[in-house]
């Protein structure tokens, strides 16, 4: 079962900025234990572009899809046998990243 694991930061109360080494160690463990599918941190929401090509012509607009105080700062995709395993890892991930985490299954 694959889970999308989203890391959320809060503009008004951001998590600490010294987490990269710890996240690197955590990622090594995810790979070694077979949970890792994909992962990475995201650039600032200012770097985002939204595309809408549902009509005749593609429209490009600057900025994130939703402007909000809380925003997506990074994602993982994990392979885990069930939600309990994913939640246990996510609890560790939240500590390691010093940020909130959402776990959502793929269909």
């Amino acid at each position: 079962m694959q889970y999308l694991v989203s890391v959320f930061d809060d503009k008004s109360n951001p998590g600490s900025t010294d987490r990269l080494p710890a996240i690197g160690e955590f990622n090594k463990r995810l790979i070694a234990e077979g949970y890792w599918v994909f992962g990475g941190g995201l650039a600032d929401t200012d770097a985002a572009t939204v595309i809408d090509n549902r009509s005749e012509q593609a429209v490009f607009s600057d900025g994130p899809f939703v402007e909000s105080k809380e925003y997506l700062a990074g994602v993982w995709v994990w392979e885990a046998p069930d939600l309990d395993v994913a939640l246990k890892l996510a609890a560790e991930a939240s500590k390691v990243c010093d940020r909130k985490i959402e776990v959502r299954p793929f269909q």
Partner: protein
């Protein structure tokens, strides 16, 4: 025993077992629930004519399994491969769980999973483990039937989509997960014991009885867990006073005014036995065990004046160390009033103003202490606030009478 009684009894004893066995076999709570319901409907149809089978549980499980296979075959025509896979898919071979390897226990842990919203956990536990119907649960929580149906359907869908596992948690996670299950059961009990809402009975015996039944089941499955025993004892000792707690006129009767002859001696004896068992275990007690011990002290006194208040305060001191919440501090202050007088208690209660200003029991306690100190005007104001905030009809009636009796 007539057939109707046999069916009711089978429903009580076997519903959770049938749902649990089918959930393990078919890995799908929805199929398990619907097939179990069909099997019981078939029993209602057939048992009056054919007689009650010698082993109702086995008959129901077999019938429900056949219904489930029929259901899956029907659905197979729509959606072949996935359903076929589901039929043969079995959970990992059961782990060596020893005494606690019971399907019903897996079912309880799944229904009380922390990834589900608390209200969904309550509803799912009552439906899957308790066997209550959706309309019954909707009534219990004063929610429209359709909304309750949706709540249960959504919870089942999440269990499936997110793959919430059907198993007893690992030894490492077990204590917190058991705590979660006990929280659900205690909420069900409390909703029965002090029902909210203007149109409900002040005490919902159906809910308290169901909570006790489910806690007995958990106790049978986890006989060595002190907090499970503690919660069961606590519920029994509260339930024992049920008939004395509401007057014929529908008014709450406080502990000091209750007719102790109306208490249920058998429930009290069982509760006391459990408390003694935990004391003998010599393990540091958790909050339910301490609350049960407090209730054991109350139910040991033949008259309110015989209550060993110093023991009650000592137990609350122990509870405060575990749970330094303002509600616990409030209850401790009530006991302190009996031991050290209302003035000392009022000083302790007033310190909780910031945290408990929106809690009816805080104002009711203050009102009573102010009344005992002869401060009628302040007492009246506190009763007014308590009446405003109280949600239980019997409690409102009691508080109103007390207020109106002020000089």
């Amino acid at each position: 025993m007539d057939v109707k009684e046999a069916i009711t009894q089978a429903h009580h004893n076997e519903w959770a077992r049938v749902v649990a066995a089918l959930t393990r076999r078919f890995s799908d709570l929805g199929i398990a629930e619907e097939s179990a319901a069909e099997a019981f409907a078939t029993a209602v149809e057939r048992w009056p004519a054919d007689g009650v089978p010698p082993n109702p549980g086995a008959w129901l499980t077999t019938t429900a399994t056949r219904k489930a296979i029929d259901r899956i075959r029907r659905e197979n025509k729509r959606d072949d491969k996935q359903k076929e896979a589901q039929m043969v898919y079995d959970d990992d071979p059961p782990e060596p769980l020893g005494a606690i390897d019971d399907d019903r226990l897996r079912l309880v842990f799944t229904c009380c999973h922390p990834a589900l919203a608390m209200e969904a956990r309550l509803a799912l536990t009552l439906r899957m483990v308790g066997g209550l119907t959706v309309p019954e649960i909707a009534r219990a929580f004063l929610v429209a039937e359709s909304a309750m149906g949706q709540r249960i359907t959504r919870a089942k869908a999440k269990i499936k989509a997110a793959r919430i596992p059907y198993r007893v948690p690992s030894a490492e996670d077990l204590p917190t997960r058991v705590t979660g299950v006990l929280t659900v059961l205690f909420l069900v009990f409390n909703e029965g014991y002090l029902a909210t809402g203007p149109d409900t009975d002040p005490v919902r015996h159906d809910l308290t009885a169901e909570a006790i039944r489910l806690t007995r089941l958990i106790r049978a499955l986890l006989p060595n867990d002190g907090e499970v025993a503690g919660l069961l004892a606590l519920m029994l000792l509260i339930e024992a006073r049920r008939l004395a707690r509401v007057s014929a006129g529908g008014e709450l009767v406080a502990l000091d005014e209750q007719d102790r002859g109306a208490w249920d001696v058998e429930l009290i004896a069982e509760g006391h036995r459990l408390v003694r068992e935990r004391l003998a275990a010599g393990v540091a007690p958790g909050r339910y065990q301490i609350l049960a011990a407090i209730n054991a002290v109350h139910t040991s006194a033949r008259d309110i004046r015989d209550t060993d208040w110093s023991q009650v305060v000592a137990l609350y001191d122990q509870l405060v160390r575990l749970d330094p919440s303002p509600v616990v501090a409030l209850n401790r202050a009530i006991a302190v009033a009996e031991l050290g007088g209302p003035e000392v208690a009022l000083a302790a209660v007033d310190r909780l103003d910031g945290a408990l200003a929106g809690y009816h029991a805080y104002h009711a306690t203050r009102a009573d202490l102010l009344r005992r100190l002869g401060l009628s005007q302040q007492s009246r104001a506190a009763y007014d606030k308590a009446i405003d905030l109280a949600g239980n009809t019997a409690e409102t009636a009691y508080l109103t009478r007390r207020r109106d009796q002020l000089q």
